[in-house]
């Protein structure tokens, strides 16, 4: 008896009675959940992500603002062969003391390496963003349709089997020969079939989700296909999309470097990292300052984009939002 009293006494201290409120009991409440808010909460929990974003912002600012004030001209010293291939120290002596412009020496035509790298990174970043945007958009939309409709699947599989086997380098070089090698024709060459592998990847992902019960239920209720795709399937694939984007973005920078190296890159008047690297590679032992800085910048950009994308992909997986 005594014992029971004691517990009763304790319970009174710990709990208090609440009035029975008819109004609130009618509502079903759950904690507020915003998907994107949670994504960023998880994303910024990691210190490294803040650092990586800071770096990216720095690169963006430098590469987009600096060329406005200090324009890069590859041909400015082309007539003066005495300033070709100068090491940073010699170049600064020649051009009158310390200057930012000659901090990394001069290139094969007397051009400033530093200014070249800054202008080139802008082009490379633009190329990567534009190509990724076009390829991802077309790839995701086509992939969703491809995976959803069995009729489209039969046709697209045949097309894919054929196009995937046509050597990529050949296709790009033929296009470059036909339409020229300016910036936009290069974008065209990279995107005309570039979306196909993305769409194929997506087809498989969509097929997995297509037959889940909730999609089946939507279909039974007569939801139009476009709505099932945009509301039922695509949101489920957000983290897959971000993961793919993380590897796609830097891959275009690598692709441009590779194509320039084998001689079918952007035209000579468009400064690009790939062109700088392929120009410097012949003499990378004798004039290392012409080769390593663009390589380092290209690597830095690709690593930053890759890490950023991977961590964003991790954060965009709802299972990490606990």
């Amino acid at each position: 008896m005594n014992e029971q009293n004691k517990t009763l006494c304790n319970e009174e201290e710990l709990f208090r009675f609440v009035d029975n409120d008819q109004f609130t009991s009618e509502k079903i409440t759950a904690p507020r959940y915003s998907y994107w808010k949670s994504v960023f909460r998880v994303f910024f929990r990691k210190k490294i992500n803040i650092m990586v974003i800071a770096f990216l912002v720095l690169i963006l600012l430098v590469s987009f603002i600096m060329p406005i004030y200090w324009p890069y001209d590859q041909m400015e010293n082309v007539t003066n062969s005495a300033v070709y291939n100068l090491s940073p120290k010699v170049a600064m002596q020649r051009f009158g003391g310390f200057s930012f412009k000659w901090l990394l020496g001069s290139g094969g035509l007397g051009n400033s390496i530093l200014y070249g790298i800054v202008s080139s990174s802008r082009i490379s970043l633009l190329l990567a963003v534009i190509c990724a945007a076009i390829n991802m958009t077309i790839g995701i939309l086509m992939g969703a349709l491809w995976g959803y409709s069995k009729k489209v699947d039969a046709v697209m599989l045949v097309i894919y089997n054929i196009v995937a086997n046509v050597p990529y380098i050949l296709l790009i070089s033929v296009l470059v020969y036909i339409i020229g090698s300016g910036f936009w024709s290069f974008v065209f060459a990279l995107t005309i079939t570039g979306w196909l592998p993305i769409a194929y990847f997506f087809r498989t992902q969509v097929m997995i989700i297509r037959d889940r019960e909730y999609s089946l239920a939507s279909r039974c209720l007569g939801t139009p296909v476009s709505r099932v795709i945009t509301k039922n399937i695509l949101p489920f694939l957000t983290s897959v999309i971000v993961t793919l984007l993380a590897s796609e973005l830097p891959s275009y920078i690598s692709m441009e470097v590779f194509l320039s190296f084998i001689g079918i890159g952007l035209s000579a008047n468009v400064p690009s990292l790939g062109r700088m690297i392929s120009q410097g590679q012949g003499a990378f032992l004798t004039y290392p300052w012409e080769f390593w800085p663009p390589v380092a910048v290209a690597s830095a950009i690709t690593i930053i984009l890759y890490v950023l994308g991977q961590n964003l992909a991790d954060a965009s997986d709802p299972r990490t939002h606990m």
Binding site: V158, N161, I162, N165, V166, P167, I169, L170, L171, S173, V174, Y177, I178, S247, P250, I253, S254, V257, F258, F261, I262, G263, I264, I277, Q281, F284, L285, F291, V295, A298, S299, T302, I303, L305, Y306, V307, Q310
Partner: protein, 526 residues
């Protein structure tokens, strides 16, 4: 299963055809055909009409069109009538000269005959007017020509290509009226001391033979003709380009076929198994060879292009599997420890950085720190030249295998069978190395045939950086020099390999994991 494979193989052939046709369409129809003369010296030297004639000649060789020349037509016509002495006929000279007058050439009877014949065959006439100085003298290279051209359609081009694709040697191959004995039979091979299949009337004398070179048994009976290179490897067949041994000649003490049995030995590098038929052998050759098979090749110490690429690629793949898989398992076992973080950093670096960048980093580090040879050809001993290319190639595969092995291992780690194994009291080492890795490998097995076969394709950047004489740059140089037939040949080669590796991958997967069935009948299929 058999029906499924048959269907699959048929479909593979279909897609191979379509791919080759697409590439031919790209290369022959979409690319500007005058590009092929960009690096052509002969074209630069010729002028006016002769240059145009040369262009048509080249277009025909490259397979763009067929053309007929009026002069050839007249020559053939008079040879038929008068035999060898057609040259002295006045009518012949008059007919040849007829086209040098742009005003009256159409009145000539032979010209009319030529035009009628070509029109009937669907050719289009092209008359190149003589180009003259003001004085009336013909300019150098300005002589008139009468041509008929016919464009080749894509389908026709593909059929032509396929017609010559496989070649089987027969006793009727050699066109020589003096050759009376034609046979293919077993004979004792005086060079290998074993037997050989020897032919007479075939292009190669030795159809099947043994020698000391890998793979020790060789044949010349059956060959694949992928096409002939024009610019990069002038006039050579592509199969020869990629399979011909390179390097220094190997001199050995041997005897010429006609001198066998005598005591006349000679130090020579001639490979007597490689002899092919020669219609007019020289006097010196007649003494040394008993028959007309006198054209030979030399024994060389080095590997062929294909072998070089394959050796480097295969070594890289073996190293990658030997290092990548255990490291992936280790990373999964020590998840979220220092080893895992270091491994991840390595994977991110290799995956994100352009491959060009790290290959050059290895090149710089290898030459500066370890004093390894930079260029493949400068290596002595030769084996040192292989080290840097193999490392550069394997690194990407290592990172890739680590990444996926770790991922699949972690996915498997919470499975029921792992808990069961643990409750049975198996050690962690056994669980990871035997049970989990075996299941994680299921996902990687499919790619194994592909990685091995892709060694035959070679590596573009690595081979360029270290100047390795391999096959990786065949395609890229062919594109830059407009060597159309090499482009088509490479496409056939690459596409067949990729189709083959997919089929082999599926078969291997079905073999490795019995739960997987390729056909819908039986268990496992959907």
């Amino acid at each position: 299963m058999r029906k499924y494979m048959l269907k699959r193989i048929l479909f593979s052939f279909f897609s191979l055809f379509v791919v080759v046709m697409t590439v031919m369409l790209l290369v022959f129809s979409l690319m500007d055909r005058s590009m092929i003369f960009q690096t052509d010296d002969t074209w630069n030297k010729r002028n006016l009409n002769e240059r145009t004639l040369y262009e048509y000649m080249q277009y025909q060789r490259y397979g763009y069109l067929n053309y007929q020349d009026y002069t050839d037509f007249v020559r053939a016509k008079y040879t038929e009538q008068y035999g060898e002495t057609y040259n002295s006929q006045p009518q012949f000279t008059a007919d040849i000269a007829a086209i040098q007058n742009e005003n009256t050439y159409l009145e000539n009877a032979t010209v009319q005959e030529f035009i009628a014949k070509c029109k009937a065959e669907g050719y289009e006439m092209r008359y190149l007017q003589p180009v003259r100085f003001k004085s009336g003298k013909v300019k150098p290279g300005g002589t008139g020509f009468l041509l008929a051209t016919r464009e080749k359609s894509v389908v026709l081009r593909l059929l032509d290509y396929l017609k010559g694709f496989f070649h089987v040697e027969t006793t009727r191959d050699v066109k020589d009226a003096n050759l009376t004995e034609r046979y293919i039979r077993f004979e004792k091979d005086p060079y290998s001391k074993l037997f050989a299949i020897v032919g007479s009337g075939t292009q190669h004398k030795y159809q099947l033979y043994f020698d000391g070179r890998f793979p020790f048994i060789h044949q010349n009976w059956f060959s694949i003709n992928l096409g002939t290179s024009f610019t990069t490897y002038r006039g050579q067949e592509i199969t020869t380009v990629i399979s011909k041994p390179s390097g220094d000649m190997v001199v050995s003490r041997t005897q010429y076929p006609a001198l066998l049995g005598t005591d006349q030995y000679e130090d020579t590098a001639i490979d007597f198994h490689s002899v092919t038929y020669n219609v007019n052998p020289s006097e010196a050759d007649r003494e040394k060879f008993p028959d007309n098979y006198t054209t030979y090749m030399f024994n060389r110490a080095g590997l062929s292009r294909l072998e070089t690429s394959f050796v480097i690629g295969l070594m890289a793949v073996l190293i990658a599997y030997a290092i990548g898989l255990p490291l992936g398992i280790l990373m999964a076992r020590r998840k979220d420890t220092l080893i895992d973080h270091l491994g991840n950093a390595f994977i991110i670096f290799i995956m994100a950085v352009p491959s060009l960048a790290y290959i050059f980093m290895f090149a710089a580090a290898g030459t500066k720190i370890f004093h390894l040879p930079y260029k493949f050809a400068n290596a002595s001993p030769k084996i040192l030249g292989y080290i840097l290319p193999i490392i550069s190639l394997s690194v990407r595969d290592i990172a890739n295998l680590m990444k996926w092995m770790r991922r699949y291992m972690i996915d498997q780690m919470n499975s029921d069978y792992v808990k069961f194994a643990r409750s049975e009291g198996l050690s962690e080492k056994e669980i990871y190395n035997i049970h989990i890795s075996k299941n994680a490998l299921i996902y990687l097995v499919h790619g194994i045939p592909g990685t091995i076969l892709s060694c035959l394709v070679g590596a573009i950047i690595t081979e360029r950086v270290y100047a390795v004489p391999g096959v990786g740059n065949l395609m890229t140089t062919a594109i830059n020099t407009h060597d159309n037939s090499i482009i088509v040949a490479c496409t056939v080669f690459y596409t067949s390999l990729s189709i083959l590796s997919l089929i082999l991958g599926d078969l291997l997967l079905a073999k490795y994991d019995p739960r997987i069935s390729l056909t819908s009948e039986g268990g496992g299929g959907r």
